[in-house]
């Protein structure tokens, strides 16, 4: 039991070190920036910029579903960050509305939108992480859920799947799987339901 706890703690430490390493490597206006790291006797403190605008999930819960133009504006900024991230061979593996943050409540330009939480991010050159099952049920790519051995490696495209589900959510207010009880199974089989009421309703004219 004690040994298991030590192994678990070592795994967390390794994951945290990996996150810090990745955060130090990246530099893009649409990706969260690590300011500094402090180590105390029993913990690490990671200091980030303050994001007072909340996250995309709260934004949708407060203001209702987004129009296509609003969704395009927000996710385009995230895509720019992702394109950079993928160009340096890093995948995020946990893209979801909760991890898309706003610098302040008034969205005045695209640099106000930032992708955060690199806890599951990894470089493409770490073989043991490339068949590791992780992510948020509903948003995770099927190839991650189906990965079980080194032969089942996945790549940066797993982030694109999560971005697609995020886009679906912000436009409709729902996840694309009709039966919530079988979420993981439907996520794994990628059973998408496009006959969602959110897609039948047209946005307001203009924007």
């Amino acid at each position: 039991m004690f040994e298991t706890l030590i192994n678990f703690s070592l795994k967390i430490q390794a994951g945290l070190k990996n996150e810090i390493e990745i955060l130090r490597k990246i530099n893009h206006p649409n990706l969260i920036k690590l300011n500094s790291v402090y180590k105390t006797t029993n913990s690490y403190c990671l200091v980030f910029e303050l994001f007072s605008g909340g996250n995309l999930k709260k934004f949708v819960q407060k203001n209702g579903v987004l129009s296509e133009t609003q969704a395009a504006f927000i996710l385009r900024s995230i895509l720019e960050g992702l394109a950079y991230l993928h160009s340096v061979n890093i995948m995020h593996r946990d893209i979801k509305p909760e991890n898309i943050l706003f610098r302040n409540p008034n969205l005045t330009d695209k640099n106000q939108i930032v992708l955060a939480d690199f806890g599951l991010a990894t470089s493409n050159d770490v073989p043991e992480y490339l068949y590791f099952r992780c992510g948020t049920p509903g948003y995770v790519a099927p190839e991650i859920l189906n990965a079980s051995c080194p032969l089942d490696r996945y790549d940066v495209k797993c982030d694109m799947f999560s971005l697609g589900v995020t886009l679906f959510y912000v436009l409709t207010g729902f996840l694309p799987y009709p039966r919530k009880r079988e979420l993981i199974q439907e996520n794994m089989e990628c059973k998408f339901e496009f006959e969602n009421p959110g897609f039948k309703k047209l946005s307001d004219s203009g924007w």
């Binding site: 697609g164 886009l167 047209l202």
Partner: protein, 103 residues
């Protein structure tokens, strides 16, 4: 009815609001489909950035979307107000002109 411009720099058409909304909806479904499809067919981040959905606002490819315009609160458009005094002055002037022309 308002109209929007669709198309590229070389070819543009004016469309009504309803068509524009349907087109936006179509683009949204199209990009989602390309993002969640089978891994081998899925588009990359740079390819997605080129998709028309992420280049909305009339779909002119070089236009930067202004955030303030997109996220401003929805308000009912106000009707143009009719200034009665201005209208009376104009009518009087017209009457004088007409009278002189008759004489």
């Amino acid at each position: 009815m308002n109209s929007k411009t669709l198309g590229s720099k070389n070819y543009q058409i004016q469309v009504g609001d309803v068509f524009y909304q349907f087109y936006k909806k179509f683009l949204a479904k199209d990009i989602i489909f390309k993002l969640v499809c089978q891994e081998t067919k899925r588009i990359t981040a740079s390819e997605a950035l080129e998709h028309d959905f992420f280049n909305l606002k009339g779909f002119e490819y070089d236009v930067e979307i202004e955030a303030e315009e997109i996220f401003k609160p929805k308000t009912q458009p106000s009707l143009p107000s009719l200034n009665i005094m201005e209208f009376n002055k104009f009518f009087l002037l017209l009457l004088i002109v007409e009278t002189f022309s008759f004489i």
